[in-house]
């Protein structure tokens, strides 16, 4: 039986449908990411799971029990908000204690529990500092520790890393996942960053315009995007239309042939560190195609305007029906 089950959730704001019949399940200890562009309904869904918003219809089950109508305080979860929502007038320690003091715990128990939590997120040295005196990463960890303070059944993370710079974000990503694994706590994280979702999650729920586009493991979502939206949203992709069949292929899967294959002209090339990104136009119909060439391959690249030949390996082609791509914006220079 699924540990947390989201069933047919629909939510409308006036005439706007934020969530349209959304369903999925989580196993105990699973880390799931809600991924999608802004306005896709992922944060609304998280707030409905938390009980901060009311769904128009649908149910949420925790361990088989319907918690749809419960007040947030009785759902027993922890949450980290995008802003962290740390109490600025309390030190890291006091922020953790605020929740614990309210439950009838003994002083010794509270102290021990806080020390444990601070240890867990490596904050013991700064426990008596106020949030404004902490770095962004430290604040984020206080928020995480506070969310875990009451031994929640599950954890909700709302874009927890979006306010941090790239280096810190990468490090904290690992820390969050390690902590989650250590506690084996069921976790739902909302993010709009596909790289973050791919690296941290057990499974990803890709959402668009209030609907679920695909639910799968990161690898499957990347390699076998269920529809053009997912293909386009996650990673780079080329769409090539032929006889009302759309073929999609990732730039790194296109080979440059010495001669033979499809003829194209190099329009632009840029160095991206690990690879070169080439932009070609097909001779046949002038469609623009992105191709990635690993820089380690050390081949001699043609100059802009020169002719070259490319190959689409058949096993890497993903086929869609043409109408599915109508709402996908075509790549252009």
């Amino acid at each position: 039986m699924a540990y947390l089950k989201i069933q047919n959730i629909t939510k409308k704001f006036g005439g706007f449908t934020a969530l349209n019949n959304v369903s999925f399940e989580l196993e105990k200890g699973e880390f799931l990411c809600l991924l999608g562009p802004s306005g896709c309904g992922k944060t609304t869904l998280l707030r409905i799971i938390a009980g901060l918003e009311e769904p128009d219809s649908g149910n949420i089950f925790l361990n088989g029990k319907d918690i749809t109508n419960l007040h947030p305080s009785s759902r027993n979860f922890g949450i980290v908000f995008q802003s962290y929502a740390l109490f600025p007038n309390m030190t890291a320690y006091e922020n953790l204690a605020f929740a614990l003091k309210n439950k009838k715990n003994s002083k010794g128990d509270i102290k021990k529990r806080i020390e444990n939590l601070l240890n867990l997120v490596n904050l013991t040295p700064v426990k008596h500092k106020y949030p404004s005196q902490l770095s962004g990463g430290e604040q984020q960890r206080v928020a995480l520790a506070r969310a875990l303070a009451l031994n929640p059944d599950f954890l909700l993370l709302d874009e927890p890393l979006s306010a941090l710079d790239a280096k810190v974000r990468n490090r904290l990503r690992i820390e969050i996942r390690e902590t989650q694994e250590k506690l084996n706590i069921t976790t739902i994280m909302v993010t709009h960053d596909q790289e973050e979702a791919l690296t941290i999650a057990d499974r990803i729920v890709v959402m668009n315009e209030g609907r679920i586009m695909q639910i799968d493991t990161p690898q499957a979502v990347y390699e076998f995007p269920a529809n053009p939206f997912v293909a386009d949203f996650i990673g780079e992709i080329n769409f090539i239309e032929k006889n009302s069949i759309i073929n999609a292929i990732r730039p790194e899967n296109i080979h440059i042939g010495q001669n033979g294959g499809i003829e194209a002209t190099l329009r632009h090339k840029e160095f991206r560190g690990a690879f070169y990104r080439l932009t070609l136009s097909l001779k046949e119909n002038n469609q623009l195609i992105k191709v990635d060439i690993p820089s380690s391959r050390k081949i001699i690249l043609p100059e802009n305007g020169e002719k070259l030949f490319i190959e689409f390996p058949i096993e890497k082609l993903i086929n869609y029906k043409s109408e599915e791509t109508s709402n996908i914006k075509k790549f252009s220079l």
């Binding site: 938390a50 009980g51 901060l52 918003e53 009311e54 109508n69 419960l70 007040h71 947030p72 305080s73 009785s74 759902r75 979860f77 922890g78 949450i79 908000f81 802003s83 929502a85 109490f87 600025p88 007038n89 309390m90 605020f98 929740a99 309210n102 439950k103 106020y130 949030p131 404004s132 005196q133 506070r146 969310a147 303070a149 009451l150």
Partner: protein, 569 residues
Amino acid sequence: MKFFNFKRKKFAKDSPIQKTLIIIFLLFLFISILLPLNSLFIKAFHDKEGYFVGLGNFKHYFSNPSLFQSLKNTIFISTATTLIAVFLAFIYSYSLSRINIRWKTFFKYIALVPLFAPTMLHGISLVYLFGNKGIFTTLGLNIDLYGAVGIIISEIIYTFPQAYLILLVALEMTDYRLYEAAQTLGAGRIKQFFRVTLPSVKYGLISAVFVCFTLSFTDFGAPKVVGGDFNVLATDIYKQIVGQQNFSMGAVVGIILLVPAIASFIVDRITTKKQSTFLSSKSVPYQLKTKPADSFFFIFCIIISLAIIIFLLVAIFASLVKIWPYNLHLTFSHYNFKTVSSSGIKPYINSIIISSISAAIGTILIFISAYLIEKSKTFKVARQITYLFSIIPLALPGLVIGISYILFFNKTSFNIFGINVPNIFNFLYGTAAIIILANIIHFYSVPFLTSNTALKKIDCEFENVSYTMSVPVYKTFFKVTMPLSITAIMENFMYLFVNSMTTVSAVIFLYTSKLKLASVAVIHMEEGGSIASAAAMAVLIVLTNIIIRIFYEIILRKIRRKTDAWQKR
């Protein structure tokens, strides 16, 4: 537990207490603002005997040359005051924000002193300086004080700090990059002033102009003391209501007083919105550089500060001289109010009690209502209406509140569609509560907006965090929201206290013989010709306000030391 069982609590909706409180506040403001105003408007369209006369009263007003003259007089006074006060305040705040001059802290504080005084004090000082036996008059400088000149000077002193505060904020909120750009384009100092400085404080200037105009248009204290026979609307309303008990005509004048106040209110709403969008987060504060003409600005600030200090000192002097100008021995005998009034020192004590209660209750009510409006989730329409009600008092002159309150609370019953409904609020009439209520409503909006701004800066997820941690919302309110807003709360208390001490306009109609207030006593003693005693009472009001303000600064400094650790600034 049964209490909460009748309805299951779902989701993160507000608790029943929160909902009830929102409705209570809505009703509270409806009853204490809209119903009295309604009475005022009804009265204006009925004659003395209570018959409906349509616009008859207005026709009578505009056809009566002496009444119409008051309107013209008032417009003249307000225009002159506004032009001069805004001009002076602009140079003053420009000196403090844009010029590298010495003694800035001194100048900043001294400009606030007139805020602590009832406007009668400025009038009294003027009499001693420029009256027929005034210090300057006997030295040969006769400015023909009684009438327009005296009123305008008093109003300038009264409105100067208000304009200065608005303009200082506007001038401090500027983007230095604009000046750098102007310099690279070769613009000189004067060109920079007209092309960069003036446009950037445009909204501040408009706001200052309207505030000064409204304040001088509706002020009552100064015209009473130095107006002589120069009638203005505020003294007219007093004569109509107090002297002739002609409430219909009083209501008409009240509605005329509302016109500039409402215009100013609308302009203020528009400009604050525009002003806030003017600055981007990348703006660079103005960099001060020493320039050759700086000494001009320094001397200007010295002159203004001296004028303010002189007005205060002359009032103190006036309260101490035995018989001006014939016996210049100093004496405290004028502080023995028993000789001129049977109530003696009691009005002063009443004022302190009433102001403290008004400030305490007002601060709590206003903060809770601002919290409910800003942080609740349900009853969106009710909250929006409550918000609107909360800023209406910005447009209500004290005299209008005073008359509306008499008209509304003195009624024993109302006739609604032919049905006689008893007025359950009638019992408030003639009590301390109605004065406290009038003070709170009169000065409601500024503390409300201060609280609102403070609460807006607080993360809206705090309530959600407490839901998820099963911490009751009231606990978060007391442990987090209140401590974070403590400076705003203290500022509001101070604001309500000082204004309740100095105001005369609303309470002049509402005080009772048992509950006379210090500011009303100043008016009465001045009316009776006991100008030295009136000065003494006015001095007591100023000194009390200054002392309380000093205490406030000390406490604030202590709190700041504590909160600096967690407040980013």
